[in-house]
Symmetry: C2
Subunit: 508 residues, 2 copies
């Protein structure tokens, strides 16, 4: 009986959970009389969140129908609908059509309380050396992740609560049903043919790139793409890769570790300054044209043409890091540079911002002259990516599921971005917000007279808010700034975090 | 109704398949009158295999109960039981207790027919350059995989048809139910804590190693372990790694690509000759003590002690490649060297021979002095393995499922090994079989007067049998030999392959 109520979509999740679906009667011993006046929907959402956090509503359990619960609680149906909408927006539940509303992600356990500074009491200093210095090592991101904080506004994460767990399991079952035993052996180091085809199709639909599946090299994320390039480029006589300034610290660390020099090229409102690139005389450049990291600017049309001319005249290599281009909120993203100049652009992207960084799947489309060397480097590195996640991903891409997911998180990310901008206008009116309506993060800067941004980030962390100081990502001096990720936090959480951040900065 | 018949174990697979379980009546329009006299069980197994191959019996479908089908077909129940046993031995079906007998792997599509040489007709030469040369490149394994052949006896693969698909999906569902969204972000480059703990426990139970989970580095298979060592060792002043001779060609290629010299050390019936190792003066040695590749010998007790003395006296590093140690058929495997000398042994292993190479999961337990550098190299390589497969694997290890799987494939591999040895005695009586009752492959050698083994391997491939010539894996001259994998083929297939191989050699 219960099973026949479940749509095909949620079965795999529902199987794992509750033997009995709640029916509303005595549901969680809720009593609307406990609610504060006027805040019924909020109260209900809070109680449901609590039940998820303490295990009474595990992942996969189905919430009562709104009509049923409203009757039970003697509240209007709109109250229940609104509470469910909040939970859905926060990523804890998902509507499953006739399958009802299902818990898909439980709230995090209550965060470790961070000591709040009180007058006369200095907050406990962090036990180890300071996190925010001008010259962080490669382990810095792990150290920052390990630091306890109530609010995590570090950039780089999409809405992880929205990860399509049920669709993933369903696609994996489909992949297994098609899988021959041979496919579980050693395979093509360039990746599973099914995924290489799916990526070629995905990039054609979403990024305007025409590529043969044979041109696609599947890698373990953009980080591995950079490492492989770090091995291949010096053997091809390239020892310098110019980078935007500012640009991702992690990217720069990857290149540097392979002893590639990274001369900085300034970025203005139209993106990288190609005249300054010419002045470096570097034979290659790495850039993020669709949504510059961290400034958020988009490479302008004239600049794109100028860059193409540079590549043609200098026999230059353009490494296009298309890390979050699918996340444009106000218009379709600009096409990839790779679409225009395939023989000079080495394109790389991943599912880290589409689905989850923990999947470690990305791709490289290299110019013909570097393709064979990159394949050899990938073979040497690990003999190729694991096959199962590749087949699952191919299935999600080809079935349209990933595009649905993208539409879903794009809406959610956009609301989170709006929430962050609104909170900044309220609490940090003097900060300048940078960048296009795109991506998973934004950058704010302060007047040059403000304290160093490492100091600001330290103060923020002391108050329980994690951010990146802009100076981490810069090679030359910049005004003090912070890089703030919004995609992985709910609007409520973001508003609180920015208010706390503002207090930390003011207190300082 | 049907569902309540299914045990918990097969539900995930059954879900994906047939809406109606076959009940025996008119099942596949089988008619026992079509069977050749005296071969009823064979006939039935063949018909069922055909139905699996053409999709009439997809993965997950349940075969009728033996009693029911026997009645329908008017044959004795023993005929049906025997047919099911054959299919189970071949890895196509699995008994699921009260869940019945379920299709778990469909047969491969019919192989491309290889031209059989007929008198007066020379077989078509391979279209590209010869595969079997004395100095193969790093792409050789892909080229060999791509070559069409009816029988694949290349070493290195376990029984891939036995991959526990249902258990994998079940464990993945469990992993998702426990997963916090944060775990889908960037993680510890050393691996998921759950898997590092599970591996530490697994190695304690199966390899006698006591290690803290903090000492475990999760990597993308032994290939990545070697690549990371290839980066780290030169920075620690180690530029030479002595290797057994013969030893795996792939291993040697990995080390060489990082410009490490690989002086060869002879192997005798007790394993590596430590006196010869001393003579090389190399500061490190890589070996396969539990089951030497490819000779199959086990490192003797006195040799182990001698090796330990070498390490102590020379401050030497031992790299222990424990690639297939769990597969010992006559007695428990010898404990790992790592168990005795943790501060001098860098231990590495993987699930490639336990489950499937395509998972690309392995581990390294390094001596303290190299641990930090290896972590840094792993971080730089790919920021750490993908998290989902790690959590699934941890679940399989901790639930006892992986040990069950190991017992299952150990039985099957042993029968396959016996089948191969029997076939060699019959068809190649002059060949010498080497090695202990262990692993996934064996080695045969011929009289020194026989043709070069690259010639033998070429003749075998022309007849449709893939093997490795021993000389691929050797640095110094050895008698002609072939390395033959048996674990991935059924006993019937093995018998046919060895007969064909014998014919190829005789014809030559």
């Amino acid at each position: 009986m219960r099973r026949s109520n479940g749509s095909r979509d949620d079965r795999s999740i529902v199987d794992a959970a509750h033997a009995t679906a709640p029916h509303g009667s005595d549901f969680l011993q809720l009593n609307a009389a406990d609610a504060p006046p006027g805040g019924l929907a909020d109260w209900l959402a809070r109680r449901l969140r609590l039940a998820m956090a303490d295990g009474r509503l595990p992942i996969g359990s189905r919430l009562p129908a709104t009509r049923v619960l409203a009757t039970e609680l003697r509240v209007s149906r709109g109250v229940v609908t609104e509470a469910y909408r909040c939970l859905s927006e926060d990523g804890h539940v998902a509507g499953r059509g006739r399958g009802g509303t299902v818990v898909v992600a439980t709230p995090l356990p209550a965060p470790t309380p961070t000591p709040t500074p009180t007058p006369g009491h200095r907050p406990t200093p962090p036990p180890t050396e300071p996190l925010f210095t001008r010259t962080p090592g490669t382990e810095i991101f792990e150290s920052l992740r390990a630091a306890p904080a109530r609010y995590d506004l570090t950039p780089g994460l999409p809405d992880l609560a929205a990860f399509p767990r049920a669709a993933w399991l369903r696609a994996e079952r489909t992949a297994f049903a098609r899988l021959t035993p041979t496919a579980l052996g050693y395979g093509d180091p360039r990746g599973a043919p099914a995924l290489r085809l799916a990526v070629a199709n995905w990039l054609a639909r979403n990024r305007g790139i025409r590529a043969d599946p044979d041109e696609v090299l599947i890698v373990a994320g953009v980080a591995q793409a950079l490492t492989l390039l770090g091995q291949v480029l010096p053997r091809a006589g390239i020892h310098e890769v110019a980078v935007e300034d500012p640009c991702s610290l992690g990217t720069r660390q990857q290149l540097r570790d392979w002893r590639l020099a990274t001369p900085p090229v300034p970025v203005d409102a139209d993106g990288i300054r190609v005249d300054a690139l010419r002045a470096t005389d570097a034979p290659a450049v790495l850039l993020t044209p669709a949504h510059q990291f961290p400034t958020g600017v988009v490479l302008g049309g004239e600049r794109r043409r100028e860059l193409m001319r540079w590549a043609e005249e200098h026999d230059g290599l353009i490494i296009e890091d298309d890390y979050d281009a699918e996340h444009r909120y106000d218009r379709p993203p600009v096409p990839a540079l790779r679409a225009m100049l395939p023989e000079r652009v080495c394109y790389t992207g991943s599912v880290s911002k589409l689905l989850a960084p923990a999947l470690r799947v990305g791709w490289v489309l290299a110019p013909p002259r570097h393709r064979e060397a990159l394949t050899a480097a990938k073979r040497l590195a690990d003999l190729g990516n694991a096959v199962l996640p590749q087949l699952v991903l191919a299935e999600l891409m080809e079935s349209g599921e990933l595009e649905r997911q993208l539409r879903l998180i794009r809406r959610r990310h956009r609301r989170r971005r709006d929430a962050m901008i609104a909170a900044i206008r309220t609490h940090l009116p003097d900060a300048t917000v940078h960048g296009a309506a795109a991506g998973l993060h934004l950058m704010i800067t302060f007047a040059p007279s403000a304290p160093a941004d490492t100091t600001l980030a330290t103060a923020a962390l002391t108050h329980g808010v994690k951010t990146h100081p802009l100076s981490w990502h810069a090679q030359r001096p910049h005004p003090p700034g912070l890089v703030l990720g919004y995609a992985a936090s709910t609007p409520t959480h973001i508003a609180e975090a920015i208010a706390t951040l503002a207090k930390a900065i003011t207190d300082h």
